[in-house]
Symmetry: C2
Subunit: 306 residues, 2 copies
């Protein structure tokens, strides 16, 4: 199971006690931070996300509401004497911003930062470890902007022990676990791998930050277990959405529907909406399994077990 903790949900400026964008994706062994608006470290304290468990930070683009909390967060990591390296994936210019802030405060961080400049072309694998890959999704925004797709690597086969007769099941045949058929010489029976094993599905979380409605992303995010898609406006503000290169709730839901994702979370709300219910209702007219991003909430990204 993965877990997404919502730390900031507002577009542009803080309003109605909502903060600029930030989300934490918790893997079984580590945290990824996706965007880091002003006040993210304070939100992490509030919602008890351990700063030192952050392994990597993914920044979608360099509008202030998506990165202005980063320098403060790095500074706090330094003050609590972090040692482990931190990976930052972001548009190239962020390196200059980090560098000048550290220079002005005469700070030499207590930990190494590995800065990975990310192109806005999309569909590049920028991160890979034993269990995950992260690839970029091309967004269409006013400035260079990417989404990120977090994809679990294929899982190991699981043997369906309950289906096997007891004399075989007590010691699970290695062949089945390796994906091969197993022939039980004593019993003279062939156990076909495809009948007695299953591969747990790999989870996919697609984070689509600020973007115009863009169907070109659909093949890449198709079938995702969770899609976060910005939804800055109601569709009655389509003109405003187009002008500012943002999406409406209806458009976010249309992408979710067409991409056949399992669940949609919308966020990045315009300050004009104190009440978010109309955004949710509009999205649900197109895609029923839509949820609002609410600060402090933890959204489970679960696999459907057989």
């Amino acid at each position: 199971m993965l877990q997404l903790t919502i730390l900031g949900t507002n577009a542009a400026s803080p309003a109605h006690k909502r903060h600029p964008t930030a989300q934490v994706l918790s893997l079984p062994y580590t945290h990824f931070l996706i965007d880091c608006g002003e006040g993210t470290q304070i939100q992490m304290q509030r919602y008890r996300v351990k700063i030192n468990k952050l392994k990597a930070i993914f920044i979608t683009h360099l509008h202030g509401d998506h990165y202005l909390g980063l320098i403060g967060l790095l500074s706090t990591m330094h003050l609590i004497k972090r040692v482990d390296a931190l990976d930052i994936y972001a548009p190239p210019d962020l390196a200059d911003i980090i560098r000048i802030n550290l220079k002005c405060s005469d700070t030499r961080l207590s930990f190494p930062v590995h800065f990975h400049p990310v192109s806005d072309k999309g569909q590049e694998i920028v991160y890979e470890d034993g269990g995950f890959t992260v690839e970029t999704i091309k967004m269409n925004h006013r400035i260079a902007c990417v989404g990120y797709l977090f994809r679990e690597k294929p899982k190991k086969l699981k043997v369906l022990i309950d289906k096997l007769p007891e004399e075989v099941a007590w010691q699970i045949p290695a062949e089945l676990q390796k994906g091969r058929d197993y022939y039980n010489e004593e019993g003279g029976i062939l156990y076909k791998c495809e009948e007695y094993t299953y591969r747990p599905p790999s989870l996919v979380f697609a984070h689509c930050s600020d973007t115009l409605y863009n169907e070109a992303i659909i093949p890449q995010i198709e079938g995702a277990d969770l899609l976060y898609h910005e939804s800055t406006f109601l569709h009655e503000e389509l003109e405003k959405a187009n002008m500012t290169h943002h999406s409406t709730a209806l458009q976010a839901a249309t992408i979710a529907h067409k991409a056949k994702v399992k669940k949609l979370v919308i966020g990045h709300y315009s300050a004009r909406y104190k009440d978010l219910q109309p955004l949710l209702e509009e999205a649900r007219t197109v895609f029923e399994n839509t949820h609002l991003a609410i600060e402090g909430e933890k959204i489970h990204i679960e696999r459907t077990e057989l």
Copy 2:
């Protein structure tokens, strides 16, 4: 009357629901912001300080807890379509930080920023309007750092109407208001200016940001109506204070005492102190009229009327 609104009180990083440094000095006609740690715009919303009433921002130095909220604040002013010019007084390098952030987000602000680089030598008048001057105070910190002294200009004379007999008081003699004696020809009486007028005292607020204990500032801040002096540590942590170029509560109070100020407010608390009472008690052993900076509190800087 002036009013100081405390927006952030913690040193280095946010902790115990305390935020990095920021204070708003409210004059009768405008607001000055002194330092702008991360989350300042959120604190301004929380405590109902109108962002658009800010005329000028004074930054003491370029440690993150004193300026990292600035870019977000400028961005919000831009988004709410501010038109009036904004004056920023700060160490010179902040201009580069502002410039690179605006460049990366492709933002051309809706209002002009007048950036005034401030030297760390101190004792320079950097701001002047009809009612106020602001001069720098030399701090002794790890990087270039200044305090700011806000000084009301001399007030106009006020005539003591109640002391004057009714036949003269109904129309206050212009001579008295201009500082000259008044001779009432009808009554044949001389009203001496010094007896029938008084000049309201001009208020002085001294803001002493991060600094080592430094008696050299005393002549400049002497007699201030309010002194804010950082007080990061208890005196038992003197070594730590010296190492990080900060002051202890005892030292802040000693400066207040020696400078014969009217009132002391301490702040910029180390995250090690959840309970601030010991800092207050330590300071009060030396300077009784000491108060803790508490976020959201408004401190009146009042003149003593005759």
